[in-house]
């Protein structure tokens, strides 16, 4: 088979993770923040699969499945919170909920 090196896969995962981090740090809209978190989780899963492929063991793919389950649970909760935020403050600004007065 072919051989692209493990480093290239890990560099790709790092670049995607850092793009997600930039989005997370620079965005104010809470939907975009959640999307950036998804990008970062996906990059972490990519790193796991690359590492599992390096040793040709299934463990990396198992870890990706766990990350997938965690992302699904997290997204469902976070989207419910976004709907609550939008219903309460009529905005998607993450700073709207800065003083938790209940």
């Amino acid at each position: 088979m072919t051989s692209f090196s493990m480093e290239h896969g890990l560099i790709l995962a790092t670049i995607i993770f850092m793009l997600g981090l930039i989005g997370l740090l620079s965005r104010k809209n809470i939907v975009f923040i959640l999307m950036s978190v998804e990008i970062m989780l996906n990059a972490a899963g990519l790193a796991f699969v690359v590492a599992g492929s390096r040793w040709s063991q299934p463990d990396g793919q198992v870890m990706f499945i766990f990350i997938l389950a965690m992302a699904a649970a997290e997204v469902s909760i976070a989207l419910a919170l976004i709907i609550l935020l939008h219903r309460k403050f009529k905005t998607l600004d993450a700073d709207a909920a800065h003083n938790m007065r209940g």
């Binding site: 692209f4 499945i65 699904a72 997204v75 600004d93």
Partner: protein, 218 residues
């Protein structure tokens, strides 16, 4: 095969850059789907077809559709794009971008200076993955099931519209206010009924009485 990896990588990075710079959230979501699909191509090239299928079905299929549903449900107008352009100016993103670029450069330097380790892209079939998942990582599967249950319950609890619950003494929602601030027309008489309530309750009572009398005749 090598070229396919690099093409998919470039597509993934370009689509991710588009995700974090779009102003319209639906456009960003569609670019995110493209990014996830190109990562799925990379998984397939790495010899992980099961995970590639999961990426397409669960990530691009289910999670992104959930996002699209919520963004459609929020019903954001065109004024949100202007608001986004006010929030997303270079003064805000230049700092995080510069610092992250330094970290990327460091990481690439570390990886390249360690020399090249070729990947073994033999296919790991779903049978091996499933065997490992349900033998070595069985405890993790149980924990993931509990996490998903917590997710279901939490999403249900948060998404539910709150029902106002009153003590039976204040069964009508405005009863407490009326008791505290009695107005002339809202004065509560000795039976605990307002003037407006009387006809309805009277007919009810009389109707019940009528039924009783009918029953008696029968």
């Amino acid at each position: 095969m090598n070229a396919l990896f690099y093409i998919a990588s470039v597509v993934a990075i370009a689509a991710t850059i588009m995700v974090i710079t779009r102003l319209n959230s639906i456009h960003a979501l569609l670019y995110l789907i493209v990014s996830l699909l190109s990562v799925a191509v990379i998984f397939f090239l790495l010899g992980a077809p099961f995970v590639a299928a999961l990426e397409v079905i669960v990530y691009a299929g289910a999670i992104m559709v959930l996002f699209v549903f919520v963004v459609m449900m929020l019903n954001l107008g065109p004024q949100t794009v202007e608001q986004e352009s006010r929030w997303f100016n270079p003064k805000i993103w230049i700092g995080p971008a510069a610092l992250s670029a330094i970290l990327i450069a460091e990481f690439i330097y570390v990886l390249i200076s360690h020399g090249r380790q070729n990947l073994d892209t033999r296919m790991i079939n779903p049978k091996q993955v499933g065997f490992s998942l349900f033998s070595t990582y069985l405890l993790g599967v149980e924990l993931a099931s509990m996490l998903l249950l917590a997710g279901i319950i939490g999403a249900y609890h948060l998404g539910r519209r709150k029902e106002a619950v009153f003590h039976r003494y204040f069964r009508r929602p405005d009863a407490l206010y009326e008791r505290l601030h009695p107005k002339e027309e809202n004065k509560i008489d000795e039976n605990g009924l307002k003037a407006g309530d009387k006809p309805l309750s009277k007919t009810n009572v009389s109707g019940m009485k009528q039924k009783k009398s009918e029953r008696g005749e029968l």
